[in-house]
Each structure stands twice: as C-alpha cells, then as structure tokens.
Subunit: 649 residues, 2 copies
C-alpha cells in the first residue's frame, strides 16, 4: 500500500451541503448566465407598474399625512385648505415629471441624482446625493411596508397587534423575490398597480356620484369630534407644515430616471412614456382621494387609514373595503419592490467609483446584486422594528433625503444644460431650474418643520454615510497605489527569481502524512526542518526515538511549551535566527493536514494545522502551504483491505 | 520602492481580539504552566468538602423522596415505616463505603467504575460503566442545582417562578469557576459543606431536645390532610419503591474513588480517610433528618422542602430558616461542583482509550479539561430546562446510572481480588461481592419501579452513548491504521523524492502581489501557469493586453465562466489534462492574497483566494499555498511615502 498518499482517491463528501444547495436553488432559482442579462429588461407594460408604483402608492398615505397636520389644529376648517394644498403638491409633481424627463434624455444610462451630481457638481455633491438616496430607498421600503400593513389591519383589525410581524414577513418575501431576479418580481407584483389604479378610480367616481346625489352627509358623530380640537389659529406655518407632509406624495418619482438601463431598448423613450403615464395616474389618484377626503370630511384615525374610511363612507361595509385594502397593500408592496431594483443598482454604480465595498457591484447567480438586496432588507427591517411599523413616524424621516437628492439632481441638470448649450437649452435649464428651486425650498421646509419629529436622524446619518464612503475610497486608493504596476514598467519586470528556500514542517507525530509532506518539501529544497512542540516534559521522547530511526538528515526541532501553546512557539522560532536560514531566504511553512470524509469525523481531531495556517498568514513573508492527506472512510478502507487480501495468491 | 513585497513590514493588528483576550483572562484567570499541575492537588481538608459533598448533600432530598412515595399511599402510617427504610439505606451506604475503600486501595490512580470494569470485566462493560457514569454526572449537576434552587425558593417563595433562571445562573457560575481551575473552586465552595453539616447537627439536636421536651406536636391541620389520602394497602412493592427513592441518598459515593489522583500524596490514604469521614457525616445527617421527619410527621410539599419544613417546626420562622436554606443551597452547589471535577476527568480517561473525542483529554490554559466542563454545563442546563428544574422528576432518571456503575465496579473488584489472590483476598472479595449484590438488586428495583416515571430515558440514552463511543473508536482505529508506520519500516523510508512540480497561480489582475507570487513560483519550478476566470465576455481583455507586455514565457490561461463562478472552473482545469503536466507531477495551487491591517478593510475585498484555498483543500493531491502580501494601512503608507520623498536629494 502506498503510504505516501500521493495516489489515494475517491470519497463522497458534502451530502449536507448538497441538500442545502438544492434547497437554496428551489427558493432562489437556478443560476443564470451573464449572457441572459439583456433578456431581463423591462418594457413599458412591466416597467410602469414596477418603477412608478413608488410614486403612485404614495397616494395611500400622502392625503392622510396632510390631514394629520391640519385636523388637530383647524378642525372642520381643514377641509377648506385641503384642496389648495393638494393642488400645490400636484403642481410640484408636474414640475418634477417634466424635469425628470429631461434627466432621462440627458442620462440614458441612468444613475439618477448620483450620476447627475457627480458629472455636473463634483464628487462631494454626488456623495451627498448617493447617501440621501440610499437612506431614501431604505425608508421607501419601511414606509411602504408599514403603510401596506396599515391597509391590511384597517380591513382586519384583529391583525393590528401583529403589524410588526406582518411587516417583517413582507420584507422577507420581497428579499426572496428579488434574489430570484428582476423580471420574475415584475410578474409577481405588476398587476396590482393597475388593480390599485382601477379600484381607486372606481372609488373616486362612486364617491363623486354619491356626493352629487347628496348622500355624502357627514356621519352624525363626526362634527362634534372635529369641532372639539379646532383651536389653533390658522397660520402660514401650519399650511407650510401640511405641504411638507403632503410632499411624501412625490417621493419615488426619481425611480424611473435611476433605472433607465433596466428598460428595454429604446430605453430612454420608454422611460419618458412611463413618466407621462405616471403623472396622469398620480393626478387622478392623489387629486381624487384629496377631493373625496375634502367632501367626506375624513378624520385620520390611528387604526384605520383615510382610504379605508373613505371606502366605508362611499360603499359601506362590504367587499369593496377588502378589495381596496388588498390593492393598496399590494401596490405598496410593489413600491417597496421599486427600492429593491433601485437601491442595489445605485450601490453598484457607487461601488464602481470605489465609495462603497466593491462586492456591491457584483451580480449574484440570478444576475441581480445580491449584497445590495440583503443590505436593504436588513436596514428596512431594523427601521420597522425600531419604529414599531408606525407609518406616520417613519414618514417624518422620509422626505428630507428624497428632496435633497431631487435638488442636487435638478441643480446638476441646470449646470449640464448650461455647459452643453444645445438646442433650446434655455427652456430645459429653466424647467430644471424651477425644479431645483421648488425642491430646494421643500428641503428647507421639511428639514425645519420635521427636524424635531425625526428628520434630525437623517441629518446625522447622511454625513456618517458620506464619511464612511470617503474612508472606503481612501482605502481603495491606497491599495491600488500599493498594488498597481504602470504599463510602462511591465516589460522590465523580472520574473526569474533565485530565492533560496527554507521549509519548516510542523509535525505532531511521525506518520504517513508527515512522510508525504517531507518528500514534497525535499523535492523543493534541501533546507527542510521538522518542527515539534512538546507540551509536557518527556512528551516528545517517543517522537525523538522514532525520528532517530529514520535514514534522513532532516533535523527534528523540538520546543517545549509550558503553556501548551503551539502557534506562538512556531512564530518565535521563525522570528529567531536559529533555523539558520540566510537573510533573503524565503520561508515556507508546510502543514500536513489529513481530511476525512465526514464532518463528524473531522471534529474528532484537533486540526491544529488549520489553526496554524490561520495564525501564520498573520505573519508577513511566510508562505503557508497545506498538503492534504485524504483518509478513506471506515467502509471504503475495509473494502480496499479486503480487495488487497483477495488479490494475493 | 520594492513592489515585489518580500521586504514589507509592520502593522498593528487585532486590537479587538486583544480586548477580548484581556476580558477572558480576567474571567477565567491567567494561563498556568503544565508544571503547576501537582500544585493543584487537594488535601483531606479541601478534598473532603469537594468530593464528599455529593453524597452528603443527597440528604437534602433523599428523605423527601422516600416520603413522596410513602405518604400518598399510607398517610400517617408512613411515619412508622420511614425509619426502617432509612436504616436499610444506611446499611447499604455502609457496605458501599467499605467496598469503595477497597477500590481506592486497588486503584490508587483513580478512574472508578470505568477503569475497574475495563481491567477486570472487559471493554464493553467499561463502556457501560463509562456511559452510565457520564449520564450520572450530568444528572448530579441538574439534580443538585434543582434541589439547591428548591432550598432557596423554600426560604424566599417569591423567587419560585424564577427557579429555572436561578438554576441556569448557578450552572454558569460553576462553569466559570471550574474553567478557572481546581483549587480555586475548592476555596470558593468548601466551607459550606462544613457549615451544612454543622447547621444540620444543630437542627437535629434542637429537634431531638424539643421532641423530648414534648413540644413536637403535629400542627393541628396536618392529621386531616395525611389521613385524607392514606388509602393504598401496605405492600412489599410500596416499601421497595420507597427504598428505591431513598437510594438517591447514596449517589455520589463513588466520586472520591474516581478522583484519587486529585488528592495530594499519599493520595490513596487521604482518599480512604475521606471515605470514613463521609460515612460518619451521612449517618448523622441522613439518619438525623429521617428521624426528625418521622417524629415531626413532615409531609412533602411541592413548594417547600422537607428540611425547610423541619426547620420551621423546630425553630419557628426566623433566622434559622434562612441559615439552613443557605447552607443547603451551598452544599448542593458544591455537590454539582463534584461532577465538575469528576466528569471531565472521567472523559479524559475514556478519551485516552479513544472512545470519545481526543480533545477531551487535553488540558486548557488553566490546567483543567475545558471541553468536558463546557459539555457538562450544556447537558445539565438542557435537563434543567426540559424538566423545568423539578428535582423529583430529575431524580427518577438519576439513580439507575449510578447504581449500574456501582454494580459494575463492585463486580469488577470481586474479579480483581480473585485474580490477585493477595493477603485476605477472601474477605475483600466478600465485601465487594456484597456491594455488587446489593447494588445490583438496587438497579433492578430502581429500573423496574421508576421505569415509566423517567428511568426509561437512561435505558435509551446509555446504549446510544455506547454506540457512539464504539463508532468513534472505530474511526480512530481506521485513522491510525492508515497513518501509522511501524518502527521497523522507518529506516527504509525514502525522503528524497524527485517530484516534477507544476504551479498554477489563479490571478485577478496583474499587480505587485501577482509579481511576487510568480517569482516565488518560478523559483520552485519552470512549470508555472497564471490562471484567470473571465466573468463576462471581454472582461479579460485588459489583463491579456497587460500580460502580453510582460517579458515572460509564463502562459496566461483564461477561462470564461458564464455563471460567474471561479472555483469550479479552476477545479475543472486541474482535473483536465490541458495544463500539460505529466502523470505523477505534483500540482501546487499558489494563491496570492493581500492582507490589510484592519478587519473592516479586509471586508472591502472579495478575498477570493481564501475561498479558493478552502475549495482546493477538498481536492486530493493538490497542494494549496498562500502567499501573503501585506499592505500598509493608509497612515503608515502616507508616512512611508513622505519619508521617501524627504530622503530624496
């Protein structure tokens, strides 16, 4: 039998990991080739629900947020001011739709605020935009999921105590869906957007008819309630605060421009069509809901959403309440899904610039950016837990980041048109300038009015993210500086080194594995040493005796370790001059390690070599080699033995 | 600047791990040298409380266990039978004390039932003894800790709902104490044994005086209660069951003989003195408590222990209730501590025979068997949680294992004396034979009467442990068979191999780290190849161009991976014949890996090499080498740069 082991073969391994692999494949889908990438793009029909859902779904909470500011202060008078604020927001939204169509034109490769700010305003502004957008995406997921859960618990009040759990389950499902790949998520989630729009249109039309028919009387208990707290004087500041809250309706509008490369060719044209559709949908849905809230005098309630109350008022209890709840929850889930396409794409762009870990720019086995998807899910889940799935609290953090990136993007566009001075640049610059001014004003308004209510968190987190990004960039630059070789140096590089080698083989006993290692070492260099640590006095005597029987000049070095530590002694020995290697010699630590077929068998051994390998890698200038020695499992070994005996004459 | 990197040096590393190390040193104590081992031994004064506490503490629950069988069946009549059963148990205990003194004589190196059975009855019996003892030790911890908690909650009833948590905290403290080392635990825990004995003696004397003074009347509400359920006829079986329950008083008696090597020289003599002291203590304490329970007609109560009730009856509410509770709890904790010296020692002995993982025979940095201590703690904690810290339920599992090992040990001793036939062997064999018979009878009694109440678990677990032990032994034999080289072969071994080497260097780009690796590889063999995986079409073009600029004949192999997998392609390439190595060539995969000084910096890189290393180790016959390339951290790099510039003329 060949005890040296260079001929051994054949063991089954990793049955457990095989099962795990199959399971993971079932959940996350089969691997996809890089060439399948272009097949994963979106057309208008799929792209519109995926990328516009964030904006459209804002309707589910924006009207409520306006009322939450107005009603406690103005009572019944709120319903006079409601439509005016809604109109102002629709105007803002219209400006943004047209501004962003220009962004698509100018940046058909996408990237949104980050890319626009980088190219036109400089790197530090792009980082502000990138950090704001990242925070914004995380909040998009948390806010949308919290609002979706609110829609569900409005229809099924008995689920209210479980709202955090419901949110977390939704986030997990979104993560799995997105880890499976882009188009599949579209198929799962896209129809609800249309269903939401249709069901809202039905609600709005029915509501208007009922109102015109004169049956939309305020329920008898409402007036007393509303009149009860209408004590605060009407001030401009109050209306500005209401406007700031309503701005949440506009969030998500940049998603389309960020994701232009996700569209099928002609990508820019498709994206622009989506913007027009999106504008129309929001005007109808947001305007309609605001109008109904106004005519039906809806008062926000912590356990029932405004839309749910509206449905009750228009249709009474019945199937429509559940339909509206279902479509609302689903479009909000889809809005969260928008962030799942936007956030990883944004990070991959930033990663290519070296401001976030490079791994974020790598596609997983389903061609999506796995790491980004997982980061987003964890961050959103954390927010849900901290804020106990309260939509209203989360929205206070939301709009600052969004509008900061809007402002940077629009300002960048003004510079862009000014630099380019192409046909009709004045008009384009004017539109984007208007966008920059209005969104900039919105940042100021939101930042001031919401600061103490939570927006301060964003003002802390964004600079921290920017600092981290700068530090990461610095690291990558330093690494590149130390590793890169300029092309002109390449021809002069000399690869033929004449190192003198010195191999140290740590051994535990003298066995077949050690023999294999010694032969390997000796075939590299004559300078080979065996190294052994004696853990108590006399423990190495047997090994010394055996070694002396060998017909070899390889020395056996024995060190005594009173504290039963092996690694430190080896390090000390290498650092000392004892081993007689010359300065400039290259030292290789060759570790014999045997492997057995089952994991439980591996756990029966110390596997000191693997520990030593880890420790030695921390030493500079020592090359660590592991020479594996595979042992047959018990059965295979028996069979081989039997066969050997049988083959004898 | 030397871009090859063989000259780089100096980085601070592992600040976090340093803090952790200091913390761990504070909790677990400083490392101790192997030579300090003999200093850790016990004299009679420390050894008695540590090793006899298990037996003596049994008094805390044994009387209660007898009453729990008798009272529900016999009511007031129980108190007639109580003393007779107690006397039977004292007789059994006396036989065992003398039997075990013989064991100490014959086996001064300790090991108890396992060693005795191994040497006299054969390996399979020793495994039965070893498995039974292991189960017994785990139960010693759980039962003692549960009983200690019962003592505490008897004095402080408001703690009753937290009894599981109290148990777990005690187990954690015991584990930490024992991980610190033997003698220190003795100092922490030894005085309570004496305190317990003294306080029990005080209780017994006071109780007897009070009884003689005629004031020990049964409280007025007791008779009705007891008479209420005294319905079952008096049967022999009932008395046998009561005896079986009382046998829990005898558990732990073997601890001293197992741990003879833990005693200071003369170890055997010291151990035998401890046995006599132990016998006297148990007769007084157990006998006394049984007598008082008899005279005071104590009825077991789920929330108050018998001893606590006795104290109340004798002294009334007051300080003595707390003193007795405290000393009881403390001796029980110390009893659990017995198992912490016994169990790891037993496992280390079994580990030396190869029936349990070898790691269990290795001493930790405080000279104790860490792994055994941790195993014991985890198993005991699991039992506490499953049985919700209920002493009575746990005791049903307890005695079977104990008495099985008693029987095997005593039977082994009979064989031992018979084989040896030394002076007075007849007498010695007679005493051990008597021990074997009585304990064997007890196994049968306990096994039958307690089977359905929980003892069946032991009958399942012990065979499972034995099967595992046999499987582990088989594995070690198979490994030894494949690795060991007989001494007579040693002189004929040939260490001078003339392998032809082939080195494959997986690379990501062409940089300074790769140059260092190529030089190393080339200095070993001319057969060097660079291997690159292209993850999308054209991705390798830049590398190809750079490579062509090199003045080298090392080929660059590029493989295309549609699924962005590197490891599989490398494996396939090695398995293929493409690389033109000859059969018999030794293939080394040389992995360049750079290291940065901070962990957060490492996380910014893919570290593909380390993944490849892991994967390659699963391939037989490939040697995996890692060539480290240390990058300076940003600051150090800047300083070096500055110095370089400054030194220029």
């Amino acid at each position: 039998m060949d005890k040296s082991g260079f001929g051994a073969c054949g063991a089954q391994e990793g049955r457990v990991s095989e099962v795990f692999r199959k399971l993971s494949r079932f959940v996350f889908g089969k691997s996809m080739a890089s060439s399948q990438l272009s097949g994963e793009k979106l057309n208008v029909f799929w792209g519109m629900p995926i990328l516009a859902s964030d904006s459209i779904s804002s309707v589910a909470y924006a009207v409520e947020e306006i009322l939450l500011v107005l009603v406690p202060a103005l009572g019944i008078a709120s319903f006079i001011w409601m439509p005016r604020i809604a109109l102002a927001i629709i105007a803002l939204m219209t400006i943004l739709v047209f501004s962003y169509r220009h962004v698509v034109d100018a940046y058909p490769n996408g990237g949104g605020a980050y890319v626009v700010a980088k190219e036109n305003l400089g790197p530090i502004y792009s980082l502000v935009a990138g950090a704001s957008l990242s925070v914004d995406y995380v909040l998009t997921v948390s806010v949308s999921i919290a609002a979706a859960t609110a829609a569900i618990t409005s229809a099924f009040p008995q689920l209210y105590p479980h709202k955090v759990a419901i949110c977390l389950i939704m986030i997990i499902l979104l993560a799995i869906g997105n880890l499976r790949g882009i188009r599949e998520s579209a198929r799962i989630f896209s129809l609800p957007t249309y269903a939401f729009i249709i069901s809202l249109v039905v609600l709005i039309i029915a509501g208007i008819f009922k109102h015109l028919a004169g049956s939309s009387l305020i329920p008898p208990d409402s007036p007393s309630e509303t009149l009860g707290y209408g004590t605060q004087a009407l001030t401009v500041i109050l209306l500005i605060r209401a406007f700031a809250s309503g701005c949440s309706a506009v969030t998500g509008i940049e998603a389309v421009s960020n994701a232009v490369p996700n569209f099928r060719a002609p990508a820019a044209k498709n994206a622009k069509i989506v913007y027009i559709l999106l504008g129309i949908a929001i005007v109808i849905c947001f305007g309609g809901v605001a109008f109904l809230a106004h005519t039906y005098h809806i008062i926000p309630h912590p356990r029932q959403t405004v839309i749910s109350q509206l449905t009750l008022s228009v249709f009474g209890p019945g199937i429509m309440v559940y339909i509206i709840a279902a479509t609302t929850a689903m479009i909000l889930a889809l809005a969260a899904n928008t962030a799942y396409s936007g956030f990883p794409t944004l990070l991959s762009v930033i990663a290519q610039d070296g401001y976030v870990p490079r791994q974020l720019s790598m596609r997983g086995h389903r061609l999506n950016f796995n790491n980004g998807i997982i980061m987003l899910s964890l961050a959103a889940a954390a927010l849900i837990i901290v804020f106990q799935a309260d939509t209203h609290l989360l929205i206070n953090l939301y709009a600052v980041g969004v509008f900061t990136s809007f402002t940077l993007s629009q300002t960048g566009m003004v510079i862009h048109w000014w630099k380019e001075r192409a046909h009709a640049w004045h008009l384009k610059a004017l539109i984007n300038g208007l966008g920059a001014l209005t969104t900039g004003a919105a940042v100021a308004v939101i930042g001031v009015t919401k600061f103490t209510e939570g927006a301060w968190v964003v003002f802390v987190v964004v600079p921290v993210i920017i600092a981290a990004m700068l530090k990461i960039k610095k690291h990558y630059l330093s690494v590149a500086n130390q590793l890169d070789i300029p092309n002109e140096l390449l021809p002069r590089l000399n690869f033929t080194a004449t190192y003198s080698h010195h191999v140290i083989v740590p051994i535990d006993s003298l066995n077949a594995m050690v023999v294999k290692a010694m032969r390997y070492a000796r075939s590299l260099t004559p300078n080979v040493e065996a190294f052994h640590v004696e853990i108590y006095e006399g423990a190495a005597d047997k090994l010394r005796r055996k070694w002396s029987l060998l017909n070899t000049d390889i020395p056996l070095i024995v060190k005594f370790s009173p504290y039963r530590e092996v690694v430190n002694l080896l390090t000390e020995y290498i650092d000392s001059e004892e081993h007689g290697s010359q300065p400039g010699d290259v030292i290789t630590v060759l570790l014999p390690q045997f492997f057995v077929s089952h994991r439980w068998e591996m756990s029966l051994h110390n596997n000191t070599s693997l520990f030593i390998a880890n420790a030695m890698l921390k030493k500079r200038n020592v090359i660590v080699s592991i020479i594996p020695f595979y042992l047959d499992d018990i059965k295979a070994y028996r069979l081989a033995k039997k066969a050997e005996l049988a083959s004898r004459p």
